[in-house]
Amino acid sequence: MNPAELALYPFERPATLTELCRTLSARAGRKERTVLLAGGTDWIVERGLAPPEDPNDLPLVLDVSRLPELRGIQVARERAVIGAAATFLEIRSHPVLLRRAPVLTAMAREVGAIQIQARGTLGGNLATASPAADGAAALMALDAEVVLASVHGERRVSLTQFFTGYRATRRAEDEVIVRVEFLLPRTGAHQAWRKVGTRAAQAISKVALAAIAERERGRGVRAGFGMASVAPVTAPLPTVRALALAPSLASVSDEELDAATRRDIAPIDDVRSTAAYRAHVASALVKAFFRELREAPGL
């Protein structure tokens, strides 16, 4: 459709979460379609590419970008709570996240460029559920939980369970993502973000790896992975994760890591890259992370 047609969509700005949930509930009950708009970096772009909608049956667009309940980043008692409308710019500028969850900081710094970071939100990144979503990969490595709200209250879904298929999630029509939460990795935990994109900036991931490992006296106590653009949904790499928790990293061979990575991903050819290249890079990034782990002091 032509971007000029955006002007036709009905738009409202609910003042509170309660009001938003009521509207969502009522509309879902009437089978009316609703779009939750935050930064617009996906939805507005997609309008330009999507087939046009029936002008007499347009969805209602609800602006959630300034709802107080969706805003802000808090860190307390070793838990990080990030509002769904927190932007990538807010995330990359947050000093505690930089210290304790640098995987998130590094990821946010490589989303698009400053203009996209200023608008794009973590909640939007999860709701769009693109397999190329960098935010989803980093949060998956952090074992984040998604908190959804509706008139029935809140419910929590582990991010590994959140995505149900290509661009599909467990969010119901009457729900909104309000925040994500995760347990901060310990100080000194090994964290890595590596994005292999179409160029050095303003890029979409061909493959991106987020990884976290905590080890104690040589034993793995926490590990998490998230990989973008190698499967219909963000890949949690469960087999690789099991290897990261192995009693001895020295015994994990490159061949095992290759096999594990292959098991955990299902890359395809598309306009950005090839399945063969993605598979190779996925393996290479996993092996590089394990190499770093083995070399890291105190792990």
Binding site: P3, A4, L6, A7, L8, Y9, F11, R13, L37, G39, G40, T41, I44, V45, G48, V61, D63, S65, L89, G112, A113, I114, Q115, I116, A118, R119, A200, A201, Q202
Partner: protein, 158 residues
């Protein structure tokens, strides 16, 4: 929808479809054609304006989301008696060739220098990485920004 915001330092109120793009509002009813459209999907940065001081792509901002906020465009960059030092540096150092991307670069650079008056080359390059230029190879743009940084530094120390 009635939208009230501060545009280039002046309070403005107008009626507009809330999901009209800020870009179309600026270029249309507001008559500010300095903000350019290069791709319409947030890739080229030609429509960069500052929303509450932060660079955004005006092609991806809904008019309704600007209510109660401040917007700065290239038309608001100049000083009373002419060009700002940054604009002047782009003229002197070859930062503008065809010029269509220039307003966007100026806005991104202005935001950088406001937040960080002494950026290094790496920070300069990162701050304009969301703006595509097909003419210059970026070097003259980076030099223009560095020139403005140096001028400011020497003014302050002098």
């Amino acid at each position: 929808m009635r939208i009230a915001f501060v545009l280039n330092g002046r309070k403005r109120t107008l009626d507009a479809p809330p999901l009209a793009r800020l870009l179309d509002l600026l270029r249309g009813p507001l008559g500010l054609t300095g903000t350019k459209e290069g791709c319409g999907e947030g890739e080229c940065g030609s429509c960069t304006v500052l929303l509450d001081g932060v660079p955004v792509n005006a092609c991806l901002v809904a008019a309704g989301q600007c209510d109660g906020r401040t917007v700065l465009t290239v038309e608001g960059l100049g000083v009373k008696d002419g060009l700002s030092d940054l604009q002047d540096a782009f003229v002197k150092e070859g930062g503008a060739q065809c010029g269509i991307c220039t307003p966007g670069f100026l806005m991104a650079a202005h935001a950088l220098l406001t937040a960080n008056p002494q950026p290094g080359e790496g920070e300069i390059r990162e701050s304009i990485a969301g703006n595509i230029c097909r003419c210059t190879g970026y070097q003259r743009i980076v030099e223009s920004i560095r020139h403005a940084v140096k001028e400011r530094a020497s003014r302050e120390s002098g």
